[in-house]
């Protein structure tokens, strides 16, 4: 059986219906363990004090924010090439989640910035490119909402997503070129020398797993919602 069969709404509904209960338990578990461990079970940082605990929300949400867009890029491409409706709807479903995650990363970052840098906001490249990402999400969502014909909306948002990806990358580069920042570099690398202390590293990994699972489950639920709405619309159109 080919993977593409899950692009069929019936197949997808069946599989996702079975997956959701399992996944929700796993998600709750990971999030609870990760956050409780992070909040209660980690020491203060010698430099940042207790604010280091924010990392358990900040980094996972930032990762999801970026990866949600990448997922949308892939599903959009699948829609454009193979025209599987479920794929387009999954992209639509992911956008609000990506936006929320972007906002969480921005929010926690801003709150963290106040004690660390003395300001909620600075025009640092990392921060700025996240704000640009939020605008891309907003535009994408607004475009979905502005077009009534669903196939047309899927086409246009997919094209926007592809073009937007290129320009998001360009902006990231441009913003770096424009300003040197305050924000720290990658501390999550596998290279032992670089990444944060193990005391933070392991709970952080659990939190990331929790966020990833949460993202997956929300995408599944939202895609199911979209599929149901499409079916309802089709039924309604046929009955009149």
């Amino acid at each position: 059986m080919s993977f593409w069969e899950y692009a069929n709404p019936v197949k997808f509904m069946g599989l996702s219906g079975r997956l959701i209960p399992v996944l929700s338990v796993l998600t709750a578990l990971c999030l609870a363990v990760g956050i409780l461990w992070g909040f209660f079970g980690t020491p203060d940082d010698y430099k940042q004090g207790s604010t280091v605990k924010i990392i358990f929300l900040h980094v996972p949400s930032a990762m999801i924010a970026i990866n949600a867009w990448i997922m949308m890029m892939i599903t959009s491409l699948v829609w454009l090439i193979r025209r599987h409706h479920v794929s387009a709807l999954a992209a639509k479903a992911a956008a609000p989640i990506g936006l929320t995650m972007t906002l969480i990363a921005l929010g926690t970052g801003a709150i963290w910035g106040k004690p660390m840098w003395g300001t909620y906001w600075a025009w640092d490249p990392r921060l700025t490119s996240f704000m640009i990402l939020a605008v891309f999400y907003l535009g994408y969502i607004a475009l979905w909402n502005a077009i009534e014909d669903t196939d047309v909306a899927a086409d246009l948002t997919s094209i926007l997503c592809m073009v937007g990806s290129v320009f998001a990358l360009l902006s990231r580069y441009a913003v770096n070129f424009w300003n040197q920042g305050l924000h720290q570099g990658a501390s999550l690398s596998l290279d032992k020398e670089e990444h944060v202390d193990n005391a933070f590293y392991f709970p952080l990994l659990v939190c990331i797993a929790g966020f990833v699972l949460l993202f997956v489950i929300l995408v599944l639920i939202r895609t199911r919602t979209e599929i149901r709405l499409r079916r309802a619309a089709s039924l309604q159109a046929r009955n009149t």
Partner: protein, 218 residues
């Protein structure tokens, strides 16, 4: 394609003076800045490159929706789509016409307006170069945004929302090159990046726009 290009130029002139108005808007935005931030000359000189670039960008943005919306509303776009011209050629012709009627006059007008904002001497040539190189990218990226929003009745603001983040790299490379020249640094690297960006937009955006138009005609 040539017919389309010349017709678009003609229409821009006829419908209340294409050239003049983008210019006027640019002029007025630049004029507003001293009203808003006060008339301190050293302050103005520092923000001049950025304001000039932002002003040009907004003036360009404001006329984007004309690129396809009018032709869509009166049915011309439907007919063009069934005509011998390829859609990507249509968008390229229209984006070029848009550049000739906005980007080009804006570039020329930026020099005297720079004087109003007390732009330092050595920056003029770089301001001119960066606008001349950068504004085609604005027109071609903008045409893509216009193609995406063409079906939507007066999607003017949605258009801005979609296009503005796409404009960020152009703005940054453009403004940075002028700022660098003001600060006595080498503006060439960012100018080269800007040229690359323009080349990329001019070559590839018409195809993306054609896809979007195709979807919108449905």
């Amino acid at each position: 394609m040539l017919a389309l290009f010349t017709r678009d130029l003609k229409l821009a002139f006829r419908s209340g003076g294409g050239f003049g108005l983008a210019l006027a808007f640019f002029l007025i935005v630049v004029m507003f800045v001293p009203f808003g931030v006060g008339s301190d000359l050293t302050l103005l000189a520092r923000i001049a490159p950025g304001i000039l670039w932002i002003g040009a960008l907004l003036a360009c943005l404001l006329s984007l929706d004309r690129i396809f919306q009018l032709d869509h509303e009166d049915g011309t776009l439907d007919v063009l789509a069934t005509s011998p011209l390829p859609l990507s050629g249509i968008t390229a012709a229209k984006a070029t016409a848009h550049w000739v009627t906005t980007g080009l006059p804006l570039t020329l007008a930026a020099i005297p307006l720079g004087y109003l904002l007390n732009l330092p001497e050595p920056a003029y040539i770089w301001l001119f170069a960066s606008l001349a190189i950068g504004t085609p990218a604005l027109s071609f990226i903008g045409a893509f945004g216009a193609a995406v929003t063409v079906g939507i009745k007066r999607g003017g603001l949605l258009l801005s929302l979609l296009v503005l983040p796409l404009y960020i790299p152009t703005l940054i490379f453009g403004a940075v090159s002028v700022t660098k020249s003001v600060d006595g640094l080498n503006p060439l690297p960012s100018l080269i990046l800007l040229a690359g960006l323009t080349l990329f937009s001019v070559v590839l955006m018409p195809f993306a726009s054609a896809l979007a138009l195709k979807a919108n005609l449905n």
